[in-house]
């Protein structure tokens, strides 16, 4: 079953005072199946941030449609958008985006509190997630007291606590050292095995090599894609590297 369907997506930025229009996305089409782990790769300026913003319903496309579950994003009214985002999407950011004023626990609770859920239910949801992510000991601490890797795991917990249809991760290993990156990617794999659909934007080959499928974006279009199939992470790494070389060399893909 397809959980996310992106078709004919186009985004044109027109500068306010005339000038050249910039076409960030030309024509993007892809689908994500329930339980899939997809990585999107592309160089700076390839349009991947624009794509992610549109998927996150922070930005709106010029043309085309994004269907999440059975909802067409463009039909959702502005005031419902925040609630929609809260209920159906989970976010993991490069810069963690934890709030210093909240304890770790309260940071994780934030989306649920905003959704008006009772405190008992939050606690219930938190226990297994904290255990899985290994952050049980940190719950009473404050974000400035813990390391980057720990922060990112807390951010993952925050993304998961609402039980979202789709977790959107924007360069999640970008601010982590290699050890913390490995740990985070391992966790992403584990979470995915439990059935969570993940869409990750990255330009780290290593991060992408953990995904089940990798989409390459170039000049606002999906240029190429690789399925993991039965390959292990190392083979996947090699395949991605080759694909990237090919793309930068300007060869024909697809």
């Amino acid at each position: 079953m397809s959980i996310l369907k992106v078709s004919g997506l186009k985004k044109v930025y027109s500068p306010r005072f005339g000038g050249n229009k910039v076409e960030a996305l030309k024509n993007v089409n892809f689908e994500v199946e329930q339980g899939e782990y997809v990585a999107i790769m592309g160089e700076s300026g390839s349009g991947k941030t624009t794509l992610l913003n549109i998927l996150a319903a922070i930005d709106r496309p010029t043309e085309g449609s994004v269907i999440l579950g059975d909802m067409e994003l463009s039909t959702i009214k502005e005031e419902k958008m925040a609630a929609f985002r809260r209920e159906h999407l989970g976010f993991v950011f490069q810069e963690f985006n934890l709030l210093d004023t909240f304890s770790v626990e309260d940071n994780i609770f934030l989306p649920m509190v905003l959704a008006g859920k009772p405190h008992g239910q939050m606690k219930e949801r938190l226990v297994p997630i904290a255990k899985q992510l290994g952050i049980e000991e940190l719950l009473k601490k404050y974000p400035y007291e813990i390391s980057g890797g720990q922060k990112q795991r807390v951010a993952v917990a925050r993304a998961l606590i609402t039980n979202p249809k789709l977790v959107l991760a924007d360069e999640p290993t970008g601010a982590l050292d290699s050890k913390a990156s490995d740990e985070l990617l391992r966790l992403f794999g584990e979470i995915n095995e439990n059935g969570q659909t993940i869409l990750m934007v990255t330009h780290s080959v290593k991060a992408a090599s953990h995904a089940g499928r990798v989409l390459f974006i170039k000049d606002g279009e999906v240029f190429h894609q690789i399925y993991r199939g039965n390959h292990n992470a190392q083979q996947m790494y090699q395949m991605i590297s080759d694909a990237l070389t090919m793309i930068t060399m300007g060869g024909e893909g697809r």
Binding site: A82, L98, D106, L114, P143
Partner: protein, 676 residues
């Protein structure tokens, strides 16, 4: 050319940070302006010969000193705020290769420009408005108005001198700050994670207790003289307590809310309470300062306005008659009708048309009020110590016949009985013993007492003993002598009357009587004599001079304080805005609606904003009884007037405050919702 480059950078910096610099400029301008106006007024020729001008000539220079001190404090406050906000920019310049000397040059030009703007515009506005202030003052004081306009070169010189000094200090301060920092720190300074505040329960509790004690003191004191002593103690206690409660108490309170899971984990409470903890930790001191400034302004304004409005009431109380004379009777033997009519006849030789005559004979002695009576022997008791201040009392002894005649009553007293009247004092005993005299049985405590000017003037409480055996009561008291050898107890014949005609005629009579007093008054054996004579018309000018002077200075200082409060609030809002911007961005990303964010901001801003006003209101209402006692010293005894004035002042303030709130919260919201 190079200098031009730095000054251009400075101008750019100012222009790009309009939101920060504008209030800084305005502060400087207003301070220079107020300084000019107040100093200008204090140097006014007219004050030298105007009635009551002496008071103003004393108070206005004090006012301009206060303004200077506050100017330094406020400018310092806003300047250090500016430097902190601009660290990042300086850090960037530093990394790009500007050394600290170059940065110092930029700061120098910025300060130079601030100083020039403040002094030039401030003096210009001050010059323009000084005439308005002068007209306002003269109008208040009921004086002739002259419409000529002038500038005081001396005052301009002073303003330039003092404020250049202040800006120089500010410049040096920013220079030291920049010199001490390193570029990385400069770049990062605003992003260091702040520790979660811990509730300091002990301090919070102490603050609440201290406040309660101060409030108790304020409410429980009845004696105006001890009110004066306790006032300052209570004020200091309240100031300390306010800081403690705002800084520690507020954090403790938020922590308590956080402990209540049901309350805390609600969408609208969650964000507000958790950021409130930080907000209070950072702003507690600032808010406490605002609260104290507001309270000061409110107390100052409400009391000076009350005094001013109640001035007529007060001088009528103080001067029941147009001319009041207090004439001594040297010995007890002479305390008889012959002496009194001698006085009356002598005076009638000098004054022709006398109206509304009133006269009575009495005796007075001061002492210490106890539970059973009064101690009067000054040499036996060390009286004027701190502990006894509250029991100091003026005892008036009034023959029953005089009391009945004055009040149209027909009380009769048996042997050893007396009537009592208490003014600002309380006495509950059944008997009343005047030290050295017989114990009197209190037959009744009477309410009615024609308050003479003399009683109205008393700073200390007054107890009147009304007796039918005046001589028997007084005889033993006459033996008490002060260390200078004169009687402690004094016998008087009081005579008051109105003069037909205008104030000028009244003053003419007053002058004639004064000149001939030595002939009128019966001298003591040693040839010395004593008298007192008051003229209402004379006193009126003094009263108006004093009260309108107080009122005017009150208004001027209120403007300065209010301005300070607004400034602190504005900078709080702005700095909060910059700090909250990140937070709200994240919240939006995790699914908080813009509308909710706005609501949340509003409720926080509202709390931070109106907390000091609210607390100031509470302070004011508890200070009210104490202030009222103090104003009694100024002959103001009109409770309802003071309540109305206080309420009105508070209301006007709330209005101004709400306006400021509107403006600053807009600025805050603009910053928070700004996209980077």
């Amino acid at each position: 050319m190079r200098l031009g480059f730095y000054s251009k950078l400075a101008v750019d910096g100012i222009r790009k940070n309009k939101r920060l610099y504008l209030p800084y400029f305005i502060t400087g301008i207003v301070m220079v302006m107020m300084f000019y106006i107040v100093t200008f007024l204090s140097e006014m020729e007219l004050l030298r010969y105007m009635k009551g001008g002496a008071t103003l000539r004393m108070m206005l220079p004090l006012g301009s000193k206060i303004i200077l001190v506050f100017a330094l404090i406020f400018l310092f406050y806003s300047n250090s705020f500016l430097v902190r906000q601009r660290y990042k920019e300086f850090g960037l310049y530093n990394i790009l290769g500007m050394d600290k000397k170059n940065l110092g040059r930029i700061v120098f030009f910025e300060n130079l420009m601030s100083a020039l703007v403040a002094i030039i515009i401030g003096l210009f506005l001050g010059g323009a408005l000084s005439k308005v202030a002068e007209l306002g003052m003269l109008n208040l004081m009921d004086q002739e108005i002259e419409y000529s306009f002038r500038l005081e070169a001396g005052v301009i010189y002073d303003a330039i001198l003092y404020f250049s000094g202040i800006y120089l200090v500010l410049f040096l301060h920013s220079l030291i700050k920049i010199r001490r920092s390193n570029p990385l720190e400069l770049l990062r300074s605003s992003q260091v994670g702040e520790k979660a505040p811990k509730a300091n329960w002990l301090v919070a509790l102490l603050g609440v207790i201290l406040l309660a004690v101060a409030y108790y003191i304020a409410v429980s004191i009845e004696n105006p003289l001890s009110a004066m002593v306790w006032f300052f103690i209570a004020v200091i206690m309240v100031i300390i307590a306010t800081y403690m409660v705002f800084v520690a108490g507020s954090v403790a309170f938020c922590k308590l809310l956080q402990k209540n899971k049901k309350y805390y984990y609600k969408a609208n409470h969650f964000v507000s309470v958790s950021s409130m903890v930080y907000r209070m930790k950072r702003n507690g001191a600032g808010l406490a300062s605002i609260c104290i400034l507001l309270t000061m302004v409110l107390v100052m304004l409400s009391s000076t306005v009350s005094l001013y409005i109640g001035a007529e009431d007060s001088y009528n109380r103080r001067y029941p008659n147009e001319i009041s004379l207090k004439l001594p009777v040297p010995t007890l033997d002479e305390f008889k009708e012959e002496t009194f009519s001698h006085y009356k006849n002598t005076i009638s030789q000098y004054v022709k048309d006398v109206e509304k005559e009133s006269y009575y004979a009495n005796a007075g002695i001061s002492g210490l009020l106890t539970k059973t009576g009064v101690l009067v022997d000054q040499q036996a008791h060390a009286q004027f110590s701190f502990d006894t201040v509250s029991s100091l009392v003026y005892i008036q002894i009034l023959p029953l016949s005089e009391y009945n005649r004055l009040h149209g009553t027909d009380y009769t007293l048996g042997q050893g009985e007396c009537l009592l009247h208490c003014l600002n004092a309380e006495y509950n005993g059944d008997t009343f013993t005047i030290e050295g005299a017989d114990t009197l049985k209190v037959k009744k405590v009477v309410d009615k007492m024609m308050i003479s000017g003399e009683l109205a003037m008393q700073m200390i409480p007054a107890v009147t003993v009304i007796t039918d055996e005046f001589e028997a009561v007084m005889a033993p008291l006459m033996k008490y002598e002060s260390e200078y050898g004169d009687h402690l107890a004094e016998l008087y014949w009081n005579y008051g009357f109105d003069v037909a005609g205008s104030d000028e005629e009244e003053i003419a009579v007053y002058d004639v009587l004064r000149k001939n007093m030595s002939d009128i008054v019966i001298h003591n054996e040693d040839g010395s004599y004593y008298f007192s004579i008051d003229s209402r018309a004379e006193g009126k000018a003094e009263f108006f001079g004093l009260y309108s002077g107080l009122f005017f200075v009150g208004i001027l200082l209120s403007i300065v304080f209010l301005f300070a409060a607004v400034l602190i609030i504005y900078y709080k809002q702005i700095s909060e805005g910059y700090e909250d911007r990140n937070r709200f961005e994240v919240m939006q990303k995790v699914g908080m609606m813009k509308r909710d964010i706005k609501k949340c901001i509003n409720s926080q801003v509202l709390t931070v904003f109106f907390l000091p006003l609210l607390a100031a209101g509470v302070h004011l209402s508890f200070a009210f009884p104490l202030v009222f006692r103090l104003l009694q010293l100024f002959n103001l005894n009109n409770l309802s007037l003071m309540i109305v004035v206080s309420l009105a002042t508070y209301f006007v303030f709330a209005l101004v405050y709400a306006l400021v709130y509107k403006i600053t919260s807009n600025a805050y919201y603009a910053i928070v919702s700004e996209r980077r």
